[in-house]
Structures are given as C-alpha cells and as structure tokens.
C-alpha cells in the first residue's frame, strides 16, 4: 500500500515535471534558453515511480532528456529553470544548461549529453556504496533510453555491476525512438529487458505510463539492491509527447494514431482516474496540488528570468580544484 503522502508526492512530482517541461519549452521558444532542450513530458511516470523509493543519499545518472529525473530526485525547479536560462543562480551557475543539470547534494550525478556515458557513473556510485558498506542507504540508478541501449558501455556496465554485485538499477526508458530512429529499427531484440539474461540479472518489462506499475517494479529492484542482491534491468515502455528536442517535428516520423494510443495512457490522467476511483485522493485535493505546482513553476520562470548572468570571469573557474597555471593567461 502506498501511503497518502507518497501518493501526493507522486502526483505533485508528475505534475511538476509536466508543467516544468511545458514552461521550459515556452521559454525556449521565446529565446530565453540557448542551444537545445529535450522535453520529457509524457514520460513522467518513470522517474517518479522510481525515485519514489530513493533518498538524497541515493545517486542517479541521467541523460540529455534529464529534467524529469532531476525533478523526481528533488532538485528545485527554480534553480533548474535558471540553469536552462544560463543564469548564475542555476544549479551549475549557468555553465551546464539543460543537458548538464546536476545537484550532487541531492544525489543527482548530472545530466549527460553523450548518449550512454552516464551509465557507468551510476555503477561507480553503487561501487562507492558497496565499498563503504552502505548499500542499504545508498544505491545507484542509471537512466538511459532505448537509443542508448545500443552503446557498448551499457553492456560493459551491466557486466561489471553483475560480477561485482553492485546495488544499481539500469532503468531503460524505451520511448520508442532515438531522435527519429524507431527502436524496432535500431534495437535487435523485441524487449530490451530480455538482455538482462546476458548478465545473469533480473530483467523486467514495465508499463512506463502507469506510475503504479513503475512504482512496484522499482520497489522490487530497489529492495534487491539495498539487500546486496545486485543489479536489475528495468525496461519502461513509454513515450515522449514532444519531438526529440524543442524544434523537432515528430509528425515527420510518427503517426497521429500512434501518438493517440500513448496519450490515451497518459500517466497523470491514469493516476487521477485511479485515485479518484479508489477514493484515495479527492478531485479537490488534486486540483489544489496542481495549482500549487503551477504556481511553483511560474515562480521558477520568474526566478530564472530575473536572475543575473554569471560574471564573465567565471569562465575560468572550476576547470580544476587547483592548477598552477594561470588559466586567464592560458589562451
């Protein structure tokens, strides 16, 4: 049984991600962010259902599509929005941007823009936990996509985690596409979860649109990890509502019919229906929660917009902890 508090947290978190992504896109279209942004709306149930079992001592590794992971892991949306706007008040002081949001105080190892590259980092975090005898308190979760599943480093990471019995979860968000490339084209196996057999670890196919199912599957995987039973591979079938990045036109490679099918399984709507049907939360509860989150995201945008840019000299900061060459002179 999920406690009411947890239910509320889940609902808030999914709404927070949804609203954040929508506002973020709006700001991007307005030119208030730079480079590229990759919205994760549609996939909210995945980070939410998994991170529901995590504390700040647990570590997650993330991807270019990382806002949802960040939010579910407890990062403040105002700092995130500021980061995406390149502001000094952002999580990374404006140095990282959308693809590199991190908060080590929250157990968030950083979004990573090299597909697959953050997977072994989560394995390393799990290694730290095991090394210190603190698996109970601290596990690692590697979020990655169906596209990333083709990267060799995933194979290496799963093999390592298996032989070293590390407390880590490989959370493959199969949203059906890597950019425009469908997973049925690029991935040689029907269900990525089946690849777990190659590493002698459990592999579970999960409906990633249903936060309750994600929650349950994650519960089992987290408990295995915390009890020294090693890694689990979860494949979460899901869908991104928007294009690959802010300017992508997904209608070029996805049919409306397909989008419809997935949107009918919308994680927020499904959740609402269930909790209302089962009278776990009331419509009033939900509306109030939603409204608060809406407000929070508005404030986040405000915070971002009104925050200062990083001072120019900070360009040279934090390349190293210490370095005897003068980096200002070194160019």
């Amino acid at each position: 049984m999920i406690t009411k508090d947890k239910l509320i947290w889940i609902y808030e978190t999914m709404c927070r991600i949804r609203f954040f992504e929508e506002s973020m896109l709006e700001q991007t279209y307005k030119g208030n962010s730079m480079g590229v942004t990759h919205p994760s709306d549609g996939q909210e149930a995945v980070p939410t259902g998994i991170c529901a079992h995590l504390t700040e001592k647990d570590w997650i590794g993330s991807t270019h599509r990382g806002h949802g992971h960040c939010i579910a892991k407890g990062l403040e949306t105002d700092k995130m929005m500021a980061e995406i706007m390149g502001k000094y008040t952002g999580n990374c002081k404006g140095k990282g941007g959308s693809m590199h949001i991190a908060d080590f105080s929250k157990g968030m190892l950083g979004a990573n823009a090299i597909v697959g590259a953050s997977i072994p980092l989560a394995v390393g975090a799990a290694l730290t936990a095991k090394f210190k005898g603190k698996e109970k308190d601290s596990i690692g979760v590697a979020f990655f996509g169906d596209g990333a599943s083709s990267q060799g480093v995933l194979h290496e990471s799963m093999n390592l985690a298996s032989i070293w019995k590390l407390p880590v979860i490989f959370a493959c968000e199969n949203n059906q596409y890597a950019e425009a490339t469908p997973s049925w084209y690029a991935v040689s196996v029907e269900d990525i979860a089946d690849r777990a057999a190659s590493y002698n670890i459990p592999g579970v196919i999960v409906d990633g649109m249903d936060v309750f199912q994600v929650y349950e599957a994650a519960e089992e995987a987290v408990s295995r990890a915390r009890n020294g039973l090693g890694p689990t591979l979860l494949e979460l079938k899901t869908y991104r509502y928007h294009g690959h990045f802010h300017a992508d036109q997904p209608e070029k490679y996805r049919t409306e019919a397909e989008e419809e099918i997935w949107k009918n399984k919308d994680c927020i709507k499904t959740f609402e229906k269930k909790v209302l049907d089962q009278k776990l939360l009331s419509r009033k509860d939900l509306d109030k929660l939603k409204k608060n989150i809406e407000k929070e995201i508005e404030n986040a945008v405000e915070f971002g917009l009104s925050s200062p840019l990083p001072p120019t000299e900070t360009l040279y900061d934090d390349v190293y902890v210490n370095y005897s060459n003068d980096l200002k002179g070194l160019r």
Partner: protein, 353 residues
Amino acid sequence: MTLNNSNKLGPGFNVKGTEIRYRDAFNNTLRSELEYDENVLIIGEDISGGFDKKTKEPLDAWGGPFAATKGLVQDFGVERIMDAPISEAGFVGAAIGAALTGLRPVVDLMYFDFTTVAFDQLLSNAAKSRYMFGGQTKVPLTLFARSGGGTGHAAQHSSAFYSILAHIPGLKVVTPSDPYSVKGLLSAAIRDDDPVFVVNDKKLINMTGFVPDEDYQIELGKGRCLKEGTDVTLVGMSYTSVVCMEAAEKLEKMDINAEVIDLLSLSPLDEKIVIDSVKKTNRIVVVDEDNPRASIASEIAAVVSDKAFDYLDAPVKRVTAPHTPVPYSKGLEEEFMPDSDDVFETVKKLLDI
C-alpha cells in the same frame, strides 16, 4: 561574408557557379560523390531518420541533425544511406572494415564531440592499419562531424579538438571554411585513399558563398591565401578563417595590412604557405578555436619558430580558446570564443600600436 574572393586554389572564378549555403554545398557534394563512385556509402545516426512502421521504408525525416544527408536516401536507397544505431565505435569500426575490403564509406559522426566514443577505432585501426600491415592495404574512409562553440550547446556538444586528430599519424584532417572549400575538400576527402576527417564548424553551416557548379577537388595539404598583406600574417582554419578576415578588415582601417592564411588542411599541413608568408610579414598570429595546449596553434608556432626563425621580428602569438571546456551561458561562451577583437588587440600589441 564570403571568403573565396582571394582564393588561389581550385578552378577559380571564370567558371559558372552559384551563391549557395555551406550546408547545401555539403549536401550536393555528397550527392555527386555517391553518383561518381558506386562504392561510396554513408553511415550515421538519423542520416535519413525515421522509418515507416508498416512498410519499413525510410522517411528521411531528419536527413541528419544538420540535414547534411537530407534527400539522399530517397535517391540512393537504404543500402547506401545507412541509418545506424547509437554505437559509434561499432559503426566506425564497421566502416573501417568496409574500407579495408573495397568500399569507400563516409561516416557522419553528427557532433564532433562523439569522436571520442569511436576514438579507439580511429586511432588504433583507421590510422594504423596501412602502416602496421606493411602497406598491403588502404583505408579510404571519410568522416565528418560538427565542431565548435558559439551556439549554446555547452561542454559536450561544442568541442573543437581537431588538434588531437591532426596529431595522429595515419589520419588526415581538413577544416573547410566556406561553401567553396567544403565542396572541394569533401570531394577530395572521399576520393582520397587515406582516412580523412572533415571538420565542419557549426557556425559555417548557414554561411553562403560562391561555389562553382563543376566538380573540383582541393588538394589535401594545401592552404590558401585569403588576403595578401605585408604587416602581419594571420593564420586561421575552419571558422577562425572568418575571424581572421574580420580582424583584417578592422586592421585595414588602422592602416595595418594583414595577410590572411586559411590552412584548410591540418594534416598534411601546408608549412610552406605559412613560412613564406612570415618571410614577407615577419610577424604571425595564429587564431584557433581549439584549446591552446599542444594544439595546431602550437604546431604553427613550432614550425615558424624553427623554420622561419630568422624572419621573425616579434614573438609568435596565439589567439585561441582558453584551457577550459565550453560553458553554456551566452556571455561566458562569447568570452570563451576567440574573436576578431582579440585578434585585433593582439596585432596592435604586436606592432606596438
């Protein structure tokens, strides 16, 4: 700005041609090389992009994130425009294997940063095969990718470490700087029997310039003089050639007559064009967007301070990116980029003005 007015390479301008974008010159050249040699094929992620679920036919939704390959799959089919899963080491390795056995593969690595993922295949196999096997084979492989900062892509999508590639014996590296040179160098690269990396700066992709209609190749290893001058030599490559030309214009207004050399190739490196220029101007500023340490800028400095030492009247200067990753925030990124003001200031100091 078009760079090719003073270009000394290629068929010149008493030919028919058109003002087109760099990206279109690139796409056209891929197309004509696919036509020219039936063994040419292109491999990369989303280079057509998208497949119809029912018919399994390619949709060409992306044509690559930079649309470099847009429209090609429709005319050449999936056998020659091969969409690859995200596994750079694997498909670069496969491309090398294909090159070793008779094809002429072209690999789109998308962002230059992803070179690192396939780095072992590049350094250990592509670059070394011919040599370590005693010359019995060759690796007619072309790779291309988009480098450089200035577009808000942050640390992992803005790299310009072409110096690292130029360091590696067995690889060739070219850095086109306008529509004209990208056509000539890409064509030459694909027809060349050695592995060639074509570095495309993101900032050039929408630049327009005059491009002859006819087929032509720019010889790998030859730089060009974009502007003759007498007071100082500015050396650029890729986008910094544009920066050098901008700086030269600013200097002109101060009656400083800069000569601008566009390297075009980093390996082979046209030492002669640089040395000859320094012999004339006696001063040099190398402008490079790569990080400074052990870079192509360092290399030019080393070549000049050895082989043109007697002609140097002033210290050899480098204007480069700093020794930092590329930051995200716009102001920081602007500060990161070596620009024409930096060059202008450096030249003024050098000439003691």
